[in-house]
Symmetry: C2
Subunit: 395 residues, 2 copies
């Protein structure tokens, strides 16, 4: 198996542990084909069957404890300098390993707001608490969100190359869509056309097949997560797609907009053009305040204020999410301080992270939704997708 | 989307709640493409993005609370009579719904031993505890393992039909393997041949592609979860495969054995034949004591005692696991009372469940491993795969 990413990520993790003054990071998982821990993609890249523990320490130790049958494949990866195996129960080996390391803090994969840092199940947590009873380590458990968040966020060179490729492939498929759109086609036909292009390239979609792409044709189509319908597009409609493909595990996530010209309205009506312009400038406003270190909510607030200030309704989601191995890659969120986002909008954006910037508004001709991707550094944010600034005209 | 299974499972769940005297079952999940709750496949069959709650009550109520963008697709399914949506936070709606139902007990998806009942993450558990503070419901939370276990175990007619088809397709591909085996081929070539047959039929493997099939050629090959290697098979070797394909989500899991005849040994040596016979009869012994209601450990113990009594080493895994939507489908385990299995071997086998019966032993010519599938009822267990009772001879 190819392990370039995992090698880079384990190196990175050791540095982040040091930054956050945490001695040890413990990923505790089992049957990860059924209940995957998102962190394992970063530091292992394969599934495990029985209870398994992956310990990374600030001092640079990398220790895996896995069931006997997984020992061979985990050793083959060469990512962990020590691979211990057991037959009957993991706890004696795990306790002994923790005792030897004697960490002042042990970070576990749980988080209220950040799904990518929340892979530990409640049943596994209870097992660990039971296994650590009558040890001092139960009192030293902390959330690994400060480790896993930055680890996912800070893209390595290998990761960035894959992400750029995923974006290029997504845009290549988007370039086919314009020629396919015409009055009389249904949303479903457009989705099928996109799926054909995905299959022809042997790719997979960035999220579940039936809902990727999402297609909205005209004002009667409700924007949201429902799948493409048999709604027929007509002259004068806006057509909106939300779509992306993955390349070697790394996802792209872009939205694009077309306008179906009619004899009466060869150009979109003034109101639609203004709304489109407001969306473009709201995203640009946000990009201008976005840089590593800024709390995500401030960036979201800038776009939100711009759009509502121009007289449009608030969009009902976050402005931007991290993208990577997952389409919603966790970590700090560029979103409003709403309860469902927990503390994620409070967190500072990490350097070398990739975010979507996305928002939209309904119009008389259909939903306008824009989404591009930016790479964030201390100096600012620059687009790594071919940002859409004009409606594409069809017909 | 096709929802036959989910409809049957929701009906079943209401009955099981009543059986176990539990008022309400709550599945609480988010971003299920990243941290899936295995129970959702049974009662929803698609992913959700924001925090979502699925409540099923003993009185037959089915209520979903999902984020706004998921509302359309969840309503389209028609599985929940009430679908509530929110924009900012789920807790007000969830608290209100629970207050109205006022259940004496609320079952959550956590379990120490049963992965299929352990989909609730620790972070989501903490959120729920926070959301239910200053209510009496925090004290009424129980594990949903007694609900989810039987729900997965008891196969409906639709599920059984799919499982039989998955077995038939697996056996169809196995039937191609014998003709391909010959001295000089590597394990990897055999795996590639099997993969070609899988792709040609547009199927997916029952577990991760790289490790399905597992192939062991001769005594130098270490049985276990490492992938097929460049090891070359020679005359007189045993060849062992562990493999299965899925049909409409339902998996098969079977092991098969071949012997490569040599001029010197046109038949396997006596020791190999005896070991093979001991494995066959150990499985048969277990099948004879297996029926709905028996605790799984008793069935495992019968096979284990038979094999060790015949002078062979103990196999280092459970004799049988439930199969279904997952290859390891959770629920009661036919396994020894080892710590890593938690309480799952203590539990009584459910009626209408499908189990593997699998064990093996090393020999001078290679690993012997056998695995077939049985359907368990109150009356006993009968094979639903074409059980292997003789070594297949090649050459």
């Amino acid at each position: 198996m190819e392990t370039a990413i995992q090698r880079e990520k384990l190196e990175q993790a050791i540095g982040i542990l040091d930054e956050h003054d945490i001695d040890c990071w413990l990923t505790f998982a089992r049957e990860t084909s059924e209940t995957p821990d998102p962190a394992l993609k970063l530091i292992l890249g394969q599934d495990v069957t029985w209870q398994s523990a992956f310990l990374v320490t600030r001092a640079g130790r990398r220790i895996a404890i896995v069931g006997g049958p997984d020992g061979g494949s985990v050793r083959q990866l060469g990512l962990y300098e020590t691979v211990l195996t057991y037959d009957e129960g993991i706890m004696p080996l795990l306790r002994q390993t923790i005792r030897q390391l004697d960490p002042r803090s042990i970070a576990l994969n749980y988080s209220l707001g950040d799904v990518a840092s929340d892979g530990l199940t409640y049943g596994m947590y209870l097992q660990l608490m039971d296994g650590l009873k009558r040890t001092p380590y139960r009192q030293r458990l902390v959330s690994a969100a400060p480790i896993v968040g930055p680890l996912r966020s800070r893209k390595t060179a290998t990761e960035l190359a894959r992400m750029r490729r995923a974006i290029a492939l997504t845009e290549e498929i988007y370039a086919q869509v314009g020629a396919f759109l015409r009055p009389g086609r249904t949303e479903r036909e457009v989705a099928e056309h996109v799926h054909d292009e995905v299959k022809r390239r042997g790719l997979v979609t960035s999220w579940e097949w039936e809902l990727c792409p999402m297609v909205n044709a005209g004002a009667a189509s409700e924007a949201g997560h429902a799948g493409p319908s048999d709604l027929v597009m007509r002259e004068g409609d806006l057509v909106h797609l939300d779509f992306g493909v993955a390349y070697e595990g790394y996802r792209a996530d872009l939205q694009r907009m077309w306008y179906l010209r009619s004899e009466r309205d060869p150009e979109p009506p003034e109101g639609v053009r203004q709304a489109f312009h407001a969306c473009v400038t709201a995203i640009e406003t946000a990009r201008n305040v976005l840089h590593a270190g800024v709390p995500g909510w401030q960036v979201d607030a800038a776009a939100r204020a711009h759009l509502t200030g121009a007289g449009y309704p608030e969009y009902k989601h976050a402005l931007g999410h991290s993208v990577g191995l997952a389409t919603h890659d966790g970590g700090p969120l560029i979103g409003p301080r709403w309860p469902r986002y927990g503390e994620t909008p409070e967190r500072a954006i990490e350097p070398d992270s990739v975010y979507t910037l996305e928002l939209g508004t309904p119009t008389e001709r259909g939903y306008i939704g824009l989404e591009d991707e930016v790479l964030v550094t201390a100096g600012g944010a620059r687009f790594i997708s071919s940002v859409q600034r004009e409606l594409m005209l069809v017909g």
